[in-house]
Amino acid sequence: MSSTTDDQVTDLQVTAPLRVVIAEDSAVLRDGLVQLLVDRGFVITGAVSDPESLRRSVERDRPDVAIVDIRMPPTFTDEGLRAAIDLRQQHEGLGILLFSQYIETRYAAELLAEDASGIGYLLKDRVADVSDFVEALVRVASGGTALDPEVITQLMGASRRTQSLSVLSAREKEVLSLMAEGRSNAAIAAALVISDGAVEKHVANIFTKFDLPVSQSDHRRVLAVLRFLDS
């Protein structure tokens, strides 16, 4: 029972290592992900290649987060997304990081329809920037949100609120994009190399300009921004 020993070991640490299941039909990428995550101290409860095995694996091992490829057998269209939506309903608190070669606005909209907590949607490319990827995975596992910058670009580009976006300063737009990706104030500050206080000020400005309710929780904040952009 390796997982038990893992649990015992992790009990000694401050935080338990996250338990991850990977559903990816490409063997090369699946093995690579396993290698990467093990290297970073995650526990891999399963590495599967189709939605059915993913369901069984989640049922059996109750992982904290699932990395799910959108295109999987048998039809190679959006099986992963369907499986993810089902899993979300059956397993409360299970983080889902959808992983795809393409960003489809419709998928993002479908995924974020109810709740943005514990949801991630990233391009596969993002795995190349290992630390950012791991950070996003941890965020999703702990109930946060991780959206690909591409999703945000699409939403901001398509938004009928372009007029409203023009009231923001350049810096505020940057903060808005990062905020919509699901990053916390501290992460935004680190990314833009500014102080936490400055970020807080920008965020407050954005919410005032958009007339949005201020929320403490990161993912609620994301949802508010997305709703605003998508409306």
Binding site: S26, D39, D78, T105, K124, D125, A128, Q154, G157
Partner: protein, 484 residues
Amino acid sequence: MTPGQTEDMGEQVDGVGRRMRALFKEMVTTVMDGRSDRAKEIVRLIEREPFTRRTWSEFSFLTIGAPLAGIGLACVTVALFAGVALAITFFGLAVMALSVRMARGFGGFNRQLARGLLDEHIEDPEPFVARPGFLGWLQSALRDRTGWRCMAYLAIKVPLATLGILVGFAAWWDAFFCLTYPVWGGAGGRAAVFGLPEVVFGPSFFSAGQYGFLHGLGVFCAGIVFFLAAPWAVRVVVYLDRRVMRVLLAPDALSARVRVLERARAQSVDSSAATLRRIERDLHDGTQAQLVALAMRLGMAREKLAAIGDADGGVSGEHGGRTELDHIRQLVDDAHRGAKEAIVELRDLARGIHPPALDVGLEGALSTLAARSTVPTELTVTLHDRPTPAIEAIAYFCVAELLANVAQHAHASHASIMCTDHGQWLRVVVRDDGTGGAELSRMGSTSSGLVGLTDRVHAVDGRLDIASPPRGPTVVTVDLPLHA
């Protein structure tokens, strides 16, 4: 020669003669029997013919067909002439198109009639398919070969029907009156004054003004001849009609050829779409995944190298090792960046081959396009039937190219995509509120972009229309058949 020999010879000659006589007799009997059998057969056929189902079916065909042809031609001619007379106005064209549609209807009815009564199975031509919109209908109707051919049939049908009445009906008519003559004419001593019998039995000839028993008998016998001949007279006329129908109401050789070619084209269009889809999938499953894995490993290596550098930074001050490490870092950095760029390029390439979102449907794929557009774009999709993958791909690439064009040249603040189906057609309208003045030759993000697309649209009999007055708005309408 001995007498015995002579006797023998005589017997031999006798034998040969006997045998030959027997043979000849046999031959004659055979021929005569055969002939009489044939003759009997023909007689039986002639006797039976007036009472067969076929005869009466053909007669019904003549009876129903004749007035129908009259009405049909009248309607079509009136409409056609009105159309020609009004052709100078737009309304005239509509009337003309209507007459072509009516001719098709009459042609179809005639085909049904021939099928039901004559057992003449004429293949149905392609159903009429109108392009979307009133103008599309007008154009399709006026260019409907089948409709015009039906009109030609109606035109020929009228003299045929007249001949049918003169020959076919008259034969039955004469037969009826001749056979009943002894009852209504012979008794009263009146002349047989109708149709052909009047010529034969008229007062000037034969009877020489005498209408006695012999005259009556003659007329009656003629009636029998008419009665037996009538089915054949009808048959000859119907035969002519059959020949004309086979030529004008069946799909003509050209249309049949076009149909075959269209089918072949649809197959090749579909199969090339399937091939593109397979290539994209192979790229996705193979090369793209491997590149991502490669970039990921390079990313890991990069971070590990950075960690080594950080750890060693304070301790090792060795100058040579430092530069070496920096050099390695630089190499890995470059490789990492290169791999990431390759992923993006490959993704764009794959998306250009076959956008994967199309597998789920046109609406989803278009919504991503609309979202990616830099000009705020509104999307409305109302589809009752899913087009074939090849058509979906053409529609998708048209919209992609048009949106790229709007973003680059139109100076628009708003664009909209409308995607609807009209019967057998898919209509995609891309509209922007930009400066207008767009022309096909000048459009396209790349010079070949839109021109290439127009070729793809034409390849499936679609159309691409641009309405772009100076100062806008620009409206591009793409019509594609739902099924290639």
